[in-house]
């Protein structure tokens, strides 16, 4: 075991390999206040990557409703049960054990193996709220006394992947150029160790090819400067994919760094598991803090206020309406005089949008074309 630095825990932790951060790290930020569970991301992924034999049940990207939903069934409850109650200290440093630290003797990772039936019902729990709406009533303001929220999930292309740690053939690796974690399909023997080890259950077994498969981060697109399919197709415009820096190298004009490091709006999920996952969520402001803390760590406290403060933050607003407005990877953004702009790696402008669409009024009669222009045609 090596000692590696996990900034999401605020401490070092045990990991089977030495720390080695890629040159760039693929990351996605999701604003859960905008996710509508339309499953367009799910279908974009599925129609692109997993429509083949043996992949029928496979959803590399899925969207589930929390708290009753999960694909596979109750995946997060299962690993939390295994790990038991854990604590963070007052300074926000993780005082509990990660799944690497809590591994049983002769195991690398604390894990559980879902059974066949757990992969049924990929949308169980859809729109089921916590707390019964027994009668009619009124909920004024936040958080809501009844609640559910949608959680879209891809592989997190973790800095410390459990799948990679567990693979007995070392057939799983992390690409140095973008941090994408891949299962080498030519070397995988389908032992399924990654399926068991990934606490997010984002490695899946293909009984037809007899290999395990997982989200490839859409590297064929990313290599061309294009965002992954699940991002490009996101009509909720909740996602932005970019390259995240660790906090000590964060750049304020980098969209991902801005939301994660500068604003503290976007948080990793289940950071306590110790994988330093690279998908980040802006937590839903209507859900109760206790539940959110369990999922996003102690930093979740205050995100509601920080989200509410966006009402007076034109820069953040600009970035958040820029999300989804281009299919290209934005390396830099700027917001000025009500216009938000995104730029590519070379600094060329990819897109610009108004923070609020202008109201345009046309002449009531176009004399040149001899036509009225009205709103009640």
């Amino acid at each position: 075991m090596s000692k590696v630095k996990n900034w999401q825990l605020g401490r070092e932790m045990d990991y089977p390999y030495d720390e080695s951060r890629p040159k760039r790290q693929w990351a996605i930020v999701f604003d859960l206040n905008k996710c509508i569970a339309c499953q367009t991301c799910t279908l974009a992924c599925k129609t692109t990557w997993t429509s083949g034999k043996g992949q029928e049940y496979m959803l590399w990207n899925n969207v589930e409703t929390k708290p009753y939903g999960g694909f596979p069934l109750a995946w997060d409850l299962r690993i939390l049960e295994k790990l038991g109650r854990q604590e963070w200290d007052k300074k926000g440093i993780y005082a509990g054990k990660t799944i690497f630290e809590a591994a049983e003797p002769n195991e690398r990772v604390l894990h559980y193996a879902p059974v066949d039936e757990d992969w049924m019902y990929p949308n169980v729990g859809e729109d089921d709220c916590a707390n019964n709406q027994e009668a009619e009533g009124y909920t004024r303001s936040l958080p809501h006394d009844r609640w559910f929220f949608y959680l879209p999930r891809t592989c997190a292309h973790c800095t410390y992947p459990a799948c990679l740690a567990a693979c007995p053939r070392k057939a799983i690796y992390k690409r140095e150029e973008d941090g994408i974690v891949l299962i080498d399909q030519s070397r995988c023997k389908g032992y399924g160790e990654c399926v068991r080890a990934c606490p997010y259950k984002k490695s899946m077994y293909n009984p037809h090819t007899r290999t395990s498969e997982k989200c490839v981060g859409c590297y064929p697109a990313v290599e061309q400067g294009i965002q992954p399919q699940c991002v490009v197709n996101c009509i909720g415009k909740i996602r932005v994919m970019g390259f995240i820096n660790p906090p000590w190298k964060a750049r304020e004009d980098n969209p991902v760094d801005y939301l994660v490091h500068k604003k503290g709006l976007a948080l990793p999920y289940y950071p306590q598991l110790g994988l330093e996952p690279n998908i980040y969520y802006i937590p839903p402001i209507h859900a109760p803090t206790d539940y959110l803390r369990q999922m996003f760590g102690p930093a979740v406290e205050g995100t509601v206020e920080r989200y509410r403060a966006l009402q007076k933050d034109p820069v953040a607003q600009g970035l958040m309406v820029l999300m989804g407005s281009t299919d290209r990877i934005m390396h830099r953004f700027s917001v000025d005089k009500g216009t938000a702009r995104g730029f590519d790696e070379a600094g060329a402008e990819l897109v610009n949008v108004p923070v609020t669409e202008p109201i345009v009024e046309r002449a009531a009669f176009d004399t040149a074309l001899n036509s009225v222009r009205n709103n009640t045609p």
């Binding site: 569970a37 499953q39 799910t42 039936e117 019902y121 859809e126 089921d128 074309l369 222009r373 045609p377």
Partner: protein, 1166 residues
């Protein structure tokens, strides 16, 4: 996905699992060995080329990565338009590999859309797509494609035998075993020929005196038979499904209907001016998408706003609208507005997806929305929070009503010599005079015969303490110029011209009395369940945000019998608070796609004179309207008008004709997913002699047709078409596609032309075929250009340019007055009056039907079936302006609560009496209001049965169908509050039967034990759904119901799939459908002869029936049901459904799940 394709399970290999500990131990050792060996030096790499030291850092052999790059590649791509029955319409890019579409993507072209003046939409509009569009890749090649023209065997036999008929004209029932018959594949020519001969035969059979005699003999209502005026063509009904979605190919069915006057000309030997075309069925009102109260208040079909204007509001009420699931591509505008500071309030009947995106959530009882709105008005008036000046200028609230007649006081009433001045706000057209072309209509027009309907009215001048005259021209700023200070509460006694004295009161005053007496927040709490404090708080918020409160109303409250009262009440709140016609303050109604008026040039296409066709593409067509529109709700109602106790409640202008033939395209809503579906199948369809359906997917409607024309999918279009939307600012072309047709299909236009050509052969008259002459010439663009040239928002566009842009994935902006389009914009600016009698927003309805119904004022009626209380009662204390006609005066007993009588039953109860009353079925242990809203996984029924989307539809989706009872990879379910279900002894995941009113559902005259009843009685799974209040149950609307064929499949196939062995039709229920519990309802106030409203196209103001504007809308969300447990939810019917058994479901939570819900697995040390 067919079950045959089921591979081995995804379970991990067990051998590895058993031996894994040993293996791991070995590997752990090997790892150390390798690491140390490597430390010795590089040479080992040559022996073991795939040796990896630290896979976080480097990996040696990455050539395999090209495999995924290969998958991602495409040879070419093209753009097509996806336009199911939603309001979005998305240009999508199809990626092609080896000639096959492999995946679909957004075009990112919306941010490039421009108008004629250089204005541009921003890239915030991108991407536009959804999961349903992406799933089309599984549908274009799907096994339920209609692959060629298909004819039902019995129908062909009837035609081949020469259409034999009995004495009353009816064919032998042996030819009409629809739903149970075999199907034959025929050639296109044969399909066209059969259709033409059938249409001719039916038109002949029911023409003239003989035809009339036959219709009488078949038992049709005499008023309906009269309505044919002896023309058999009038018994032929055509309907372009959601016509707005296809300017040429779907509206083409109405052009065909108009063309059918040629047939009447030949059959009855009548001259063109006396020839009748076929009938065209309505679209928007048929779907119960029309908010029927909008024309009552504003005169226009629907008041609304482009949804993206929500970011201009400070307060957004999302009312009965599940925006998040039904307006998916426009949801980001709402969530972005919220993050920028718009307060979002959901008014809903459950804790919905939209509730989860809102700041405040108000959950009320289904169908009580009018009461909630009236109560908001009560608070606003009582606390004097309204804008008195705006109300005085822009509404009829100051108008004086005579308490003797309950009619508005007219200046002529008090002054016999009074002569109404000419009006500037409307031009009256003498007979034969025509208004200018639609695109040039700056002002309003009406027939001179309607002149007295727009006569002046009177208000009470506070200064003069007398009634003073106000004309229709005195609206907005012009009203100020009168110098009248109207007393909204003005009451007085007025001396009439004949010397009599009469008491007068204002509409405001009468309304206030009703509200005070019946609709205080305390009353509303009882009726709606909304806490009184919530009503007060909400009313204050609205009043605090004039011009900044949006009322985004949805399909939910619109699908109740009292929908028009909901509209009138909501407008009252909006008008009181100055929230009509502003970018951030307005009322909108969102259900279905409409706003066909954007295609104002449509008459040049639909109504082109079939006797005198313009065959030069550049020439100007002449117009001759030879056909009638009709509401399809009468067909749905058993092909009857509303006649109760032998009194006719359907106005002559609305009167349907007997339906003997119908032809539909682009829709599954008129048979397959029709409300009261099994009544239509078992009681109405047997009266029809020809049913043609054009579709590219075998739906429930195809199941019961005689001919199914297999048409091209959107991805295969060979002719361009055009559509637009009520919720976004784009006009969109369906581009022509380079994709080769997958099957033997034709475009809808070719099918229309094909049947028209066949009719030419039948009658020896080439004008039939010439009606669609541009199709064969490949000049369909010319029809589109004619429409564009006549449309106010489009004139100036060239169809070729729009088409070229669309091929690149770029739509164009409609040149409305504003971007975003905002209804009542010109009115709020004071430029134009509303299209009403007074020119103002109207809250008083003096027409006789409203008076008789006790609805001249905006009042509250209980839902007609969806209530635990007495249905459809008027709720009021005695009020001097409410004089409804009692049931006794119709010859009905007051106690007669049968669903038929209920429609015309005007019984008044006070709130207290209402609370004590009961739905009559409560005595039979019926327990739940049952509603059927729409959801995110389908646009209507598209594409819910596709494997990739189906498995995500609800909690029971399982692509492998482990449980062989499942009808498909997913199945319909009913959401019940867990406490209700437990009280009934039903577990999560169990199957139950759902029964509605046994007097008429699932269909009139059902007999237990028959096949018909088995197919029709709804059985489905129960989901414990904590979001719905007790007493309210829900099933999503977007499902395919059971057919005779699907039940045969389910019971006969080894795999148990509910798939017809004959047609491949795939149901998502084993038995019945969500429409088993619904029925058709007809509402008297929607069938008036005299309601004044705007016409469909242009600025004409007219009266009475108008399809999609003033006609019945049904009440498809109403039913009251009981549940009977049928089967256990566990695998194969054994025990508890697994997720519940594991303790992971609501009310089944195990100890750890409870901890998890509480967030107890991670704490912070304090």
């Amino acid at each position: 996905m067919s079950d045959a394709r089921r591979p081995s399970t995804p379970q991990l290999p067990p051998a590895v699992d058993q031996g894994r500990r040993r293996l791991l131990q070995q590997l752990a050792g090997a790892g150390t060995l390798l690491a140390s060996a490597n430390a010795l030096g590089a040479p080992l790499r040559f022996l073991k080329p795939t040796q990896v030291d630290n896979p976080l850092a480097a990996y040696p052999s990455r050539d395999w990565e090209r495999a995924y790059r290969d998958i991602f590649k495409s040879d070419s791509n093209f753009v097509f338009l996806c336009a199911p029955n939603d309001t979005h319409n998305c240009l999508l890019r199809a990626h092609v590999r080896n000639g096959v579409v492999t995946r679909i993507a957004p075009t990112f072209g919306y941010g490039k859309a421009t108008d004629l003046y250089g204005n541009r939409a921003s890239p915030r509009w991108d991407p536009r797509i959804c999961q349903k569009g992406l799933a089309l890749v599984r549908r274009i090649y799907g096994d339920r494609r209609v692959k060629s023209p298909m004819v039902r065997r019995g129908f062909k036999a009837w035609a081949d035998a020469g259409f034999p008929r009995g004495a009353n004209g009816k064919p032998d029932a042996k030819y009409f075993q629809r739903g149970k018959d075999r199907w034959l594949r025929v050639s296109w020519e044969e399909a066209y020929d059969l259709s033409a001969r059938a249409l001719d035969n039916i038109a002949r059979t029911y023409s003239g005196a003989e035809g009339t005699t036959r219709l009488h003999a078949q038992g049709y209502d005499k008023a309906m038979v009269e309505a044919t005026e002896g023309a058999g063509t009038e018994t032929i009904k055509l309907r372009g499904g959601m016509a707005f979605l296809g300017a040429t190919r779907i509206f083409g069915l109405y052009r065909f209907a108009n063309m059918m006057s040629l047939a009447d000309h030949h059959i009855r030997k009548v001259p063109p001016e006396k020839a009748h075309g076929a009938r065209g069925w309505d679209s928007y009102s048929w779907h119960t998408d029309l908010p029927p109260g909008h024309p009552m208040v504003t005169g226009a079909q629907t008041n609304d706003f482009d949804l993206f204007t929500v970011e201009n509001a400070k307060l957004a009420l999302i009312w009965g609208m599940n925006w998040i699931t039904t307006k998916m591509p426009d949801s980001h505008w709402l969530t972005e507005a919220r993050l920028k500071g718009t307060r979002v309030v959901a008014i809903t009947v459950e804790y919905s997806a939209t509730a989860s995106k809102s700041d405040d959530v108000l959950v009320i009882k289904p169908g009580t929305d009018p009461a909630l709105a009236l109560s908001l008005a009560e608070v606003i008036i009582r606390q004097r929070l309204f804008d008195e000046k705006w109300v005085a200028r822009n509404t009829d609230l100051p108008v004086l009503i005579r308490m003797d007649t309950l009619q508005p006081l007219r200046p002529a009433d008090v002054d016999a010599a009074y002569k109404a001045p000419g009006l500037k706000s409307i031009t009256f057209m003498t007979p034969g005079q025509k208004p200018p072309p639609v695109a040039e209509q700056a002002g309003q027009f009406a027939a001179a015969s309607l002149k007295d309907r727009f006569e002046p009215f009177m208000v009470w001048d506070a200064a003069r303490k007398a009634a003073v005259t106000v004309t229709r021209d005195d609206f907005g700023p012009a009203f100020d110029a009168l110098g009248v200070k109207p007393d909204l509460r003005g009451r007085g006694s007025v001396k009439l011209a004949d010397g009599a004295k009469v008491e007068v009161r204002t509409v405001f005053d009468l309304t206030e009395q009703y509200l005070k007496d019946n609709m205080t927040p305390a009353h509303a709490e009882k009726i709606t369940g909304a806490p009184a404090a919530a009503v007060e708080a909400l009313a204050r918020q609205i009043a605090a945000n004039p011009e900044k409160t949006l009322f985004a109303m949805g399909m939910g409250p619109n699908q109740f019998f009292n929908a028009d009262l909901k509209d009138r009440a909501v407008f009252l709140v909006a008008a009181l608070t100055r929230n009509v016609g502003f970018a951030g303050g307005n009322v909108g109604s969102y259900a279905g796609n409409y706003r066909a008026a954007i295609f104002g040039g449509m008459p040049a296409y639909v109504l082109e004179d079939p006797f005198n066709l313009q065959l030069d593409p550049a020439g100007k067509p002449s117009v001759r309207k030879t056909f009638h529109y009709e509401s399809a709700h009468y067909y749905n109602y058993g092909d009857r008008p509303l006649r109760v106790a032998d009194r006719l409640f359907t106005g002559q202008g609305h009167m349907p004709t007997p339906t003997k033939a119908m032809w539909l395209n682009n829709s599954n809503s008129i048979i397959g997913n029709v409300k009261w579906h099994y009544d239509v199948v078992n009681n109405t369809l047997p009266g029809l002699e020809f049913i043609a359906y054009a579709d590219w997917w075998w739906t429930g409607s195809c199941e019961y047709a005689d001919i199914v024309f297999g048409c091209d999918s959107w991805a295969e279009f060979k002719h361009p078409d055009m559509t637009a939307s009520c919720t976004n600012p784009f006009v969109q072309m369906f581009p022509v596609s380079p994709l080769k047709r997958v099957y033997d299909t034709r475009s809808d236009m070719e099918i229309l032309a094909g049947v028209a050509d066949a009719l030419s052969r039948v009658y020896g008259d080439k004008r039939f075929g010439d009606t669609f002459a541009f199709v064969a010439q490949d000049k369909v663009e010319s029809y589109l250009q004619r429409i564009i040239d006549g449309s106010p928002g489009l004139k100036g566009y060239k169809v070729e340019e729009l088409h070229q842009k669309a091929k690149e994935g770029i739509p164009a902006l409609v040149n409305n007055r504003s971007y975003p389009r905002i209804s009542s914009f010109e009115q709020a600016k004071g430029e134009r009056p509303w299209h009403t009698r007074t020119g103002r927003l109207e809250f008083y309805r003096p027409e006789i039907e409203f008076m008789d119904s006790g609805e001249n004022l905006v009042v509250y009626r209980e839902p007609i079936d969806s209530t635990h209380r007495e249905p459809n009662v008027l709720v009021a204390k005695s009020h001097p302006a409410m004089r409804p006609v009692s049931p006794e005066s119709f010859g009905l007993k007051r106690s007669d609560l049968s669903s038929e009588s209920r429609q015309v039953r005007n019984v008044v109860l006070t709130v207290e009496e209402l609370m004590k009353s009961k739905h009559p079925l409560k005595a039979l242990n019926f327990t739940h209001v049952y509603h059927t809203p729409k959801y995110r996984h389908g646009a209507h029924t598209t594409p819910v049965d596709t494997d990739f989307t189906g498995v995500l539809f609800g909690p029971f989706g399982d692509v492998y169908r482990h449980d062989k009872r499942m009808p498909s990879v997913t199945e319909g379910y009913v959401d019940l509050n867990p406490l209700d279900a437990r009280a009934m002894g039903v577990d999560d995941g169990d199957y139950v039967y759902v029964d509605a009113d046994p007097s008429d559902r699932p269909f009139r005259g059902f007999r237990p034990g028959t096949e018909e009843y088995k197919v029709a009685r709804l059985m489905l799974r129960v989901r414990f759904y904590p979001g719905t209040p007790r007493g309210v149950a829900r099933t999503w609307h977007n499902m395919y119901g059971a057919s005779f064929g699907s039940v045969k499949g389910h019971e006969g196939r080894d795999d148990g799939l509910a798939r017809s062995p004959e047609t491949n039709y795939q149901a998502m229920f084993r038995y019945g459908s969500h429409q088993s519990a619904t029925r058709a309802w007809l509402r008297p106030t929607l069938m008036t002869e005299t309601l004044i409203h705007k016409d469909m196209y242009g600025q004409g103001v007219t009266e009475g029936f108008a399809a999609d504007i003033h006609c019945p809308v049904g009440a498809p969300r109403e039913s009251f049901v009981k549940f009977t447990r049928a089967e256990s939810g566990g695998m194969g019917g054994d025990g508890l459904w697994r997720p519940a058994a594991l303790g992971l479901r609501p009310t089944y939570e195990n100890a750890n799940m409870k901890q998890y819900l509480a967030g107890a697995f991670a704490r912070v040390r304090r």
